[in-house]
Symmetry: C2
Subunit: 592 residues, 2 copies
């Protein structure tokens, strides 16, 4: 593999020389600014061999490197070994930015190439500015992988699924009306929607073009009096065509987006910040471009009552599957025959038992002991550890159901564990509970809440390098915005109806990883003289392993929350469990 | 007074008609973007009668209003009564912005006037953009108050004070070197420093031009090889002249700043964001303007060891004065003769006993019972309540000492109080303690910590409308940045050596106000595998009234912090107290 990677890099360098560029930057995204993309656009994986979901490869004529975040440090180190590419660890104080590094290895006047399709206009502007500080010139060039990547996968032609109103709670016409109102407010005649989950949500359609994300490759242009879906015709059956027509959506070939934008008929267009550079530049200069956050992102994030009811149903059956899986696991682990991979299949089977199951919502992270410290670890047949009746298993998984998406992490005690593991587990639990207990006024952003999940471990000099919470789509992407809970400022207030995860963790490299995660929903708590206050209510229903808790480290308030959450888990799940399973759950949720 | 205000507004309207503008905006600041200004620039107070430190008056030909924040809602309501001006409460959901309001009362094409001297360039740009949404045109006009305000105070001509190295810990040459290094990093040939506290800090000089702020009116231009102080010659004695000369500082008349900027000799200049619009526009177009945060602000905020030692000494003697005052007050309150004003004089006397005392650092807020709910209440002979042996007294005060500035709030129990007062007091205390207990990694901003001070009260649906913490100058302004702890995002990490206050509060209008405030300093806590962690250490030394605490509402961790802080207060202060005072302090700091 390393040899193959070297050959690919060598072919890219030939391409670079031909175009007179001294470096080429390959990000991990696609023309739709997707976090996960169809294989066709996984060129950063192809060129570097690094398979993590986030990372940027930068190749110069002599050197090269991959920038990725702490979730992938260990994985990237292994995968980049012997490829000639260096690992640059994002967000560490000594790591140069891509521009700083290029400034240090190139000479003033050199050109740096990018593909305008897979870089947003704001990224391009930012990068051009940073490179200019070193006298470097940013050059937008054609996609090198079209010619270099011989067996490049084609764009997917998977079928679409129509979501009925009973599941979505809102028909397309109403969604378009809301979008058009938002456009009027922004004084925009139209909007180009590139984000695939926004298109799927708007049209109440789902696809299967991206692993784990039920989206389909397309663009959608919404004007005040028309809407056009740009999609490959092999994806739209007659039924879909008719459905779109009834909803006032015209369809055109996917490739037509560029020429249509070049002949855009409105006077102004809203281009969300994630619009790719090439499409941005297709807009005629006479058209006023309004750059702003996509209004669909916020509309989609606030779930309606039908979606919320769907989430509750999905979480209920996901909790049943998780309980059955944990009962099975805790028994079978003594056999010493199960691995990180085999248990994953078992969990899949428990979930797949329900007819609404449409697949997993992301690749399961089943990390036993030291593998738990690799934040986005994915076990393979070669790397999989065999589970023993000792230590901790970090299990982060989720499912796509027709009525909701789930995302849950539990760290399970498989047998005797160390005092250090117990202490760290309890610190994570304290953070998890304190965020669960949050009450906050209207206008509060996730960044303001983030410390609730971290303060207990910060007092011990421990931290985690990932965000604390993200939105979860309704039978859509398991990661969605625009709101988040994280250390960096994300200036989007949390609003009632938004889903948000709560997932603090502690990772001790080479030893173990601990994470506890519920998906929650923002709800109204109260209105007082001081305004409206919101709270967070867990959607996820699954016991949290008590065996690793040092109870004395918890305050009474923390214990009370824990016991009342466990009571709710029992009360809601027991009815659908066998008597034997009920007994187990009764014990697993007994008060501490 | 109301009649006089009406006449002034009428004269402003005549001025507006002459210039063809339909509205004029008077902010509360001055050409130096000061929070508190010499009387000469208190034109917003003059035109509106509203005397709060923050607020903007907007006068149209027919109407007018004052925008101010929640600290001043009650005060502004009283002072604007019968002036014809309306109160607009900043940050409330239904309050229009100034541009929105002007858009609703003016017609497209109308002009809105401002004085370019007292508005920063970013404010002007922002306002012009907002007004343009309503078809309104922003017009920069001459200062109307030069002609209208007949007895307008002249600029102050107070003398300057040289701060020796024993107090500042850094000589001017070294400070200039640091500033010049920062300029090199920003690729700026020079910088215009308008902020008066930044000039005072840089030059190790103090003045008395602004009430409570030991600054002096001037501009400072620092180039790589020269530095020029623009200051009225009646302020610089021969000794000061010599001192400046030795430090390589040229002096020129204050008024020369405009023409000198018009002939600026460098190729680039750093203009901090608070630079006023008129000076910004004096820079020749050939000069590259670099707009960025002032590097002096951050250099000044991180205190050196000498400054920190000075703070400790200042806080020690301030604590002694506070303890003596509280002992006196708790005795004398039974007499029923003391008022909010008389006790303020007594507190002043206790502080003034020390030769380093240079005045108060802000107007004392002594708010008894319902007056405590007026966040920036200042008692006057007419309004002052007489204290009775019951209820709560909110006392927020501070001093300027040669070696440090203090800022402390205690809410004192004068006799029997209600259960509601005790509960709110304990909620404030919980927030205060949880922020005191904060530990956080390098890079953390105040916004991330803010919730620690609010979470306990948020759970009860209570909030306060002011920030939680601000920097405190070293014998300089009691409010300084660039860091803060507040709900709004302030993207400045807290660094070791920064001072920061901790001042949560609860205000029940018409009933009582509670605030507890320490000034703290950021210190290194530990370095672990996860990086460097910081903590907050109280500088303030003064007991916190135990009589209002509902002890059962505190966690063990909170009680432990409280008792250990009180032990430190006793251990550090007792040595300088009389035996009788020691007995009182022993009781006041006995463990709960």
């Amino acid at each position: 593999m390393e040899q193959e990677i070297k050959q690919r890099i060598s072919s890219l360098r030939t391409f670079m020389r031909e175009l007179g560029i001294s470096a080429f930057i390959s990000p991990s995204t696609d023309p739709h600014a997707s976090e996960y993309t169809p294989e066709h656009w996984e060129s950063r994986k192809w060129i570097s061999g690094f398979t993590g979901s986030a990372g940027t490869a930068v190749i110069t004529l002599r050197e090269g490197g991959v920038w990725t975040d702490s979730r992938y440090f260990l994985q990237a180190e292994q995968q980049l070994n012997d490829t000639g590419l260096s690992l640059f660890k994002d967000c560490l104080p000594d790591t140069p930015s891509i521009a700083e590094w290029l400034g240090s290895v190139l000479s003033p006047g050199d050109s740096v190439g990018i593909d305008g399709w897979v870089n947003s206009v704001s990224e391009v502007e930012q990068l051009a500015h940073e490179l200019s500080e070193y006298g470097l010139v940013l050059k937008v060039v054609k996609d090198p992988y079209d010619s270099l990547w011989v067996d490049r996968p084609t764009l997917p032609s998977n079928a679409l699924l129509i979501m009925p109103e009973q599941l979505t709670g809102a028909v397309v016409i109403d969604k378009l009306t809301n979008i058009r109102e938002a456009l009027t407010q922004k004084r925009a005649d139209g909007i180009l929607i590139s984000a695939l989950d926004e298109i799927a949500w708007t049209l109440n359609l789902r696809g299967s073009d991206v692993h784990c994300n039920p989206v389909f490759v397309s663009y959608l242009v919404v004007m005040q009096d028309a809407a056009t879906l740009y999609i490959n015709s092999n994806k739209t059956t007659e039924r879909i065509q008719m459905y779109l027509e009834i909803n006032g959506i015209e369809t055109k070939p996917y490739e037509d987006i560029v020429s249509d934008l070049q002949h855009y008929s409105g006077q102004s267009i809203l281009l969300p910040e994630n619009t790719n550079f090439t499409l941005y530049n297709s807009i005629p200069s006479a058209v006023e471009i309004i750059r702003a956050a996509s209004p669909i992102s916020l509309l989609k994030a606030v779930k309606n009552d039908t979606e919320i009811a769907g989430f509750h149903a999905a979480m209920h059956r996901d909790g049943i599957a998780m309980v059955r899986f944990i009962i099975w696991l805790k028994k079978v682990v003594k056999s010493g025959t199960e691995t990180e991979v085999s248990i994953n299949q078992k969990l899949y089977d428990f979930r797949a038992a329900h007819p609404y199951f449409k697949g997993i919502s992301f690749d399961t992270i089943a990390g036993y002991q030291q593998h738990g410290a690799i934040v986005h670890y994915e076990a393979t047949a070669e790397t999989a550890s065999t589970l023993k009746p000792e230590g901790l298993l970090l299990l982060d998984s989720g499912a796509q159901y027709l009525d909701g998406t789930t995302d849950i992490t539990r760290t399970l005690v498989l047998g005797p564990i160390t005092e250090a593991q117990k202490k760290d587990y309890t610190l994570v639990l304290k953070g998890f509970i304190n965020l669960s207990l949050a009450v906050f006024p209207h206008g509060t952003c996730g960044t303001q809440l983030d410390i609730l999940a971290r303060q207990a471990m910060w007092k011990e000099g421990i931290n985690y390098g990932h965000g604390t919470g993200h939105g979860v789509g309704h039978f859509l992407n398991v990661h969605e915005g625009p709101h988040q809970i994280r250390m960096n400022n994300v200036p989007v207030p949390l609003l009632p109806g938004m889903t948000i995860t709560n997932e603090p963790g502690i990772y001790k490299a080479g030893e173990y990883g601990i994470r506890i995660e519920n998906t929650m929903i923002v709800k109204k708590a109260m209105t007082t003289d001081f305004g409206m206050f919101y709270k967070l209510e867990p959607l996820t229903l699954c016991p949290i392993d008590k065996e690793a808790i040092i109870v004395e480290m918890l305050t009474q308030e923390e214990k009370d929350w824990f016991n009342s959450y466990h009571k709710r888990v029992y009360d809601e799940l027991a009815v659908d469990l066998t008597p034997e399973e009920q007994v187990w759950l009764k014990g697993a949720t007994a008060p501490i």
